[in-house]
């Protein structure tokens, strides 16, 4: 049954991908990309990677689509016919695909308990986590503590992307992240449409609440700062779409965004530095408390909070940068 579902999803994935490549209508391409992400998320779920699925759904199908649309507002909606031949890319892609397929010939079967991935590091994580960190969701333990340095890096990947977008699209005035939309234009969007406004206002609190749930539930089930950040950002973006830029910025002002971006990134890094000051290695949370397990848990909560803050802040900043450009 799972295999059948996987095959179905993968087939749809290929069809969507081909459609994305073939269409010249960029709006359609953006919508298809959203569908692609959703299928991808379903795929991840089939593979039991619930955390990844959640992220993919929130970021890939949600935020990215909005950002793509924002970008489209700045450019043309149709792809220009390019004189370049498409044969070379096609050949390269086919060769790559064939190579990857070739690589799978010697691979262990899906779910084979004797596969190397299940023999080496993973069992250690599973058996030692209850003793060392004592939280049910091992994935969070891995991301937050064992490979916390990677996660820090990923936060900074997001941060860098935000800096880059603000650098390119930002206001160009010192201390101001993005140009403010003129007030008369902020009446745009769906402000005068009763139905979306009512429904939106009904939903937004729940979206944010769900975001917070994902943030703090990460220790027990799928979730964590990245997903939570994306979900909360999506909620605020929905608000901006319904009520206009100005109201959204009044609700969550620029200075707050700044605090979130800087504060989030710094919080994570500083937790690491504090660990160093208290005599441990960088990001060694055990020293944060007299009890090393409690220290680990405290550390993970703190850094997840940092991740959530930074991701929300950066995603919203990017959205506003695009939106402000589009209306201005």
């Amino acid at each position: 049954m799972t295999i059948l579902l996987a095959v179905f999803l993968l087939t749809m994935l290929v069809i969507t991908a081909v459609a994305i490549v073939r269409t010249r209508d960029l709006f359609a391409a953006v919508m298809l990309l959203g569908i692609f992400s959703l299928l991808m998320a379903a795929n991840f779920f089939v593979l039991d990677a619930a955390d990844v699925a959640l992220t993919e759904a929130a970021v890939g199908a949600g935020i990215s689509t909005v950002l793509f649309l924002g970008a489209l507002a700045l450019t043309a909606a149709r792809e220009r016919e390019s004189g370049d031949s498409r044969w070379l890319p096609l050949v390269v892609v086919v060769i790559m695909a064939a190579t990857v397929v070739y690589a799978t010939f010697d691979k262990p079967a899906l779910g084979d308990p004797n596969a190397p991935v299940h023999q080496h590091v993973a069992p250690w994580y599973l058996s030692e986590t209850p003793r060392l960190i004592d939280i049910p969701n091992v994935v969070t333990a891995v991301l937050g503590s064992y490979r916390g340095y990677d996660t820090l890096g990923e936060v900074f990947v997001v941060f860098t992307a935000g800096i880059a977008v603000l650098f390119l699209l930002g206001s160009g005035r010192p201390g101001e992240l993005f140009s403010r939309p003129p007030d008369e234009l902020s009446t745009g969007g769906l402000k005068h449409h009763l139905i979306p406004r009512v429904v939106g206002k009904l939903l937004i609190p729940f979206i944010i609440l769900f975001g917070l749930y994902v943030q703090f539930h990460g220790e027990y089930g799928p979730g964590g700062g990245f997903q939570a950040g994306a979900i909360i950002a999506a909620g605020v973006i929905l608000y901006a779409l319904l009520e206009g830029e100005t109201r959204a910025l009044a609700a969550l002002p620029e200075s707050a965004l700044k605090v979130m971006v800087i504060g989030g990134a710094l919080l994570y890094t500083l937790v690491g530095v504090v660990c160093m000051l208290m005599g441990g290695n960088f990001l060694d949370y055990s020293v944060l408390s007299t009890n090393s397990v409690a220290g680990q848990q405290l550390g993970i909560i703190l850094i997840e909070a940092g991740v959530g803050l930074a991701v929300t802040g950066v995603l919203l900043s990017i959205f506003h940068a695009f939106a402000a450009r589009a209306t201005a």
Binding site: L190, H193, I195, P196, V199, G200, L202, L203
Partner: protein
């Protein structure tokens, strides 16, 4: 009892699937955007309700049913709204196109 529940749920699955299938067929066969949207949005709401209720019957009175109920509520709110937004966008776009055409003719 469980037999009845099972039977009921399968009937609901059947109705839901049929509605969704008709909706899909409508999207494919009907001539204009608005008629297609009409087909999709109407059948989708009822179809989803039927399928989700079917699943609830399968699950019984558990946490899963509560979650399904939440999903159902969410869908009932969002899917008509999104249909509305889409239709509105299409209307705006058509108006814009028409004004542009008129401007072109002048």
């Amino acid at each position: 009892m469980s037999l009845f529940l099972d039977l009921g749920s399968w009937v609901l699955f059947g109705i839901g699937s049929l509605l969704l299938f008709i909706g899909a067929l409508g999207v494919l066969r009907l001539p204009t955007l608005f008629t297609r949207m009409h087909a999709a949005s109407l059948t989708e709401s009822l179809g989803t309700i039927a399928v989700l209720t079917g699943i609830m019957l399968q699950a019984g009175l558990t946490l899963a049913t509560m979650k399904l109920l939440a999903i159902l509520l969410f869908l009932l709110l969002t899917s008509p709204t999104s249909s509305y937004a889409l239709a509105n966008a299409a209307l705006l776009a058509r108006n814009r196109d028409q004004t542009r055409e008129q401007a072109d003719r002048k």
